[in-house]
């Protein structure tokens, strides 16, 4: 919180009392420039439908935004000046009101200019849409529209008081007679200046106005800053929401990371164990058989032949083990052909009739493909095993950046993800890809499982050597 205050370690210049009137005057200038900007924005916006505004509107809006950003920074500066560690401002008597607000809201965010995602006229047109739908932009337009009426009035007060004070203390003594002669009556505040006595009386009053202008300057600017913050801080609630959302997302990703690393470690352990107990053991046995066969070759050719046969069987078994292992890690059809054909290959091993309907224009990224494949495999196996389905329809579709998978079976229904660990496992694995699973399984069927994974298409061919 200290960095948000004027007393922070040298980050900002402390606004001094004497700077306040000048700052106020310059804020009035800013308000007028802002009004010009808002007129430019409005003019360009009106011309968008006829095309002429399309190149100008983003430029005008960007100008307005840079003005707004400058005002945000200035508002922060004067807002901070009122905080307990800032210079002694008139409102220091009630810092407990300012401090918590500031602690919660912090500084106003500097908003970045909009960037066109595409070149050319269409890109600019899309940019116009982006700007027009940006709530922060609307807030900036509102701010620039009313700032000359409200903000400027507040900002001009210190300067005005000082000016009026100078007028009363220095000008009235010399000019009162002239003014009195030409005007209907010459009043300085509540004093009717029609005599030297009254003119002399106006001097301390003028000095008082001057002192008030200097002394209260920061307070007025702080009011102005509050107004600016209110108008230009429209994005603050959104910022807070974004922060909450980001926190939630970090927690979620953290959980997913733990699960994914655990799962891959478990997977590597399983592979190691399978190799150790399977192929490796069989190769050892094969070596022993060959060694024994070599020793028996002369003495007992028949038993040598039997041992060689054993060795060959061990080699076949080792190959079969390796095949199963590879299939579990990354199915060859999936590597060769991609998801639709891999699911068709699965379908050929299923007892129920499985139809596969696919509309995926290119290959998906290998991790997405594998996740989708194993998810479909699990769903198909569940349907065939538990629902007594005679027929299963699989629909694979890619559109709008999402892979959509729908598996419908004509089985008995009543599937409950809370009971089966299979579906829960799929949901967990899909979560690593921000994928979702929805189950619709009324008692009596049919059961429909819908899965969605946001993903990009990869090139039509991928190397899998």
């Amino acid at each position: 919180m200290t960095d948000g205050t004027g007393g922070g370690p040298g980050i900002r210049r402390l606004p001094s009392r004497l700077a306040a009137p000048a700052e106020g005057l310059s804020l009035v200038g800013t308000a007028i420039v802002g009004w010009v900007a808002v007129l430019a924005v409005a003019g360009a916006a009106i011309l968008i439908p006829v095309g002429a505004g399309v190149p100008w509107f983003p430029a005008a809006a960007t100008w307005l935004r840079s003005l707004a950003n400058r005002s945000r920074a200035r508002a922060d500066l004067w807002f901070a000046a009122a905080a307990p560690n800032g210079v002694a401002a008139p409102e220091q008597a009630a810092p407990e009101q300012a401090a918590p607000e500031q602690a919660v809201l912090g500084e106003l965010r500097q908003l970045p200019p909009w960037v066109a995602r595409r070149d050319g006229f269409v890109g600019r047109l899309l940019l116009c849409r982006t700007i027009l739908t940006d709530p922060a932009f609307r807030a900036e337009v509102l701010w620039a529209t009313i700032d000359p009426l409200s903000g400027a009035v507040l900002a001009i007060v210190p300067f005005g008081l000082i000016l009026y004070g100078v007028f009363g203390a220095l000008a009235q003594p010399f000019l009162w007679a002239t003014i009195h002669a030409f005007a209907d009556g010459n009043y300085y505040a509540f004093i009717h200046v029609d005599s030297w006595t009254n003119a002399i009386l106006a001097i301390p009053l003028g000095l008082a106005f001057l002192a008030l202008g200097v002394w209260s300057g920061p307070w007025w600017l702080r009011c102005h800053a509050r107004l600016t913050r209110r108008l230009l801080g429209a994005g603050r609630a959104q910022l807070a929401r974004e922060r909450v959302e980001l926190t939630r997302r970090v927690e979620q990703l953290d959980g997913i990371r733990t699960e994914v690393t655990d799962a891959s470690a478990a997977e590597l352990r399983r592979i190691e164990r399978d190799l150790h107990d399977g192929a490796q053991a069989r190769l050892v046995a094969m070596g022993m058989s060959l060694d024994a066969a070599e020793r028996q070759l002369e003495r007992d050719p028949d038993s040598a032949r039997a041992l060689l046969l054993q060795a060959r069987q061990a080699s076949s078994a080792a190959l079969a083990d390796l095949r199963d292992l590879v299939r579990g890690i990354h199915p060859p059809v999936l590597a060769d052909r991609g998801l639709p054909d891999a699911v068709r290959a699965l379908a050929l091993d299923m007892v129920p009739d499985v139809t596969v309907d696919a509309a995926i224009p290119a290959r998906l990224s290998p991790p997405t493909e594998a996740a989708a494949y194993f998810a479909v495999n699990e769903v198909l196996t569940n349907a065939a095993k538990h629902s007594g389905a005679k027929r299963i329809d699989v629909d694979l579709r890619y559109d709008a950046g999402r892979l959509r998978i729908e598996v419908t079976d004509d089985g008995s229904g009543g599937a409950d993800p809370a009971r089966g660990s299979g579906l829960r496992g799929i949901i967990r694995r899909l979560a690593a890809f921000d994928g979702t699973l929805a189950l619709d399984s009324p008692p009596g069927g049919p059961t429909t499982v819908r899965m969605e994974i946001p993903c990009a298409l990869s090139s039509p061919k991928t190397s899998s050597s």
């Binding site: 060959r312 079969a320 060859p332 060769d336 290959a345 050929l348 091993d349 007892v351 061919k461």
Partner: protein, 214 residues
């Protein structure tokens, strides 16, 4: 007999070359990737090609795709495909043109030289050879679906061997029964499954596989 071999691993390519030479084959080309295979199949017009499914450049099913492309240009060009794994899906694609002269075996089968050479000859002469592993997967599914319930256990054995592309005499040797007993079993199978009877071995294989693929 003129043979083209396509296999990217030198050890296996060399082994296949030696093995087939030993059995009197003439190796006219031994290539290591998909494009070279397609070129050899076009220019050498071999009697049979022995092809690894996974080949460079993409290391996916380049061999299979080259084989299918060559057979489109020359229907019935005899090709025996080898792979580290067999997929009923690929078997289905290979059999789809019903032209015969096709083989699909696990690479492991090479270790049984006698059976392997016999398979090469069978494919070269227009026959169909399917790996027992594919057939057993088809049979497991058909059994679970109840489509072969009508058959006796012995008839199921015979059905499997027919699906692998074996002739009656090969089946009789394998099951230690007489050829006439095999003929009786096959007739019974065809009657029970309501399949069109044919004396042509290749037609018979295709009919059986079509039934199992149902």
């Amino acid at each position: 007999m003129r043979v083209v071999i396509a296999e990217d691993l030198f050890l296996l390519r060399d082994g296949l070359t030696h093995l087939l030479r030993e059995h009197g084959f003439d190796i006219v080309a031994a290539v290591e990737d998909g494009p070279a295979l397609l070129h050899a199949l076009r220019t050498e017009a071999p009697d049979v090609a022995v092809v690894d499914i996974r080949l460079p450049p993409s290391f996916t099913d380049d061999g299979l795709r080259a084989a299918l492309a060559a057979r489109q240009e020359r229907p019935g060009l005899p090709i025996l495909l080898l792979s580290q794994y067999v997929e009923p899906l690929y078997a289905r694609e290979l059999l789809a043109d019903e032209a015969g002269a096709i083989g699909y075996l696990l690479k492991d089968r090479v270790s049984d030289a006698g059976r392997f050479v016999e398979a090469v000859r069978q494919v070269a002469s227009g026959g169909t050879v399917l790996d027992p592993h594919v057939v057993s997967r088809l049979l497991v599914r058909s059994t679970a679906r109840g489509t072969v319930d009508a058959l006796t256990d012995r008839e199921r054995d015979v059905l499997g061997l027919m699906a692998e592309g074996r002739s009656n005499s090969a089946i009789s040797q394998r099951l230690y029964i007489s050829e006439s007993a095999v003929t009786k079993h096959t007739a019974s199978i065809f009657a029970k499954l309501d399949l069109p009877v044919s004396n042509d071995d290749n037609r018979r294989v295709l009919a059986v596989l079509a039934y199992l693929n149902r």
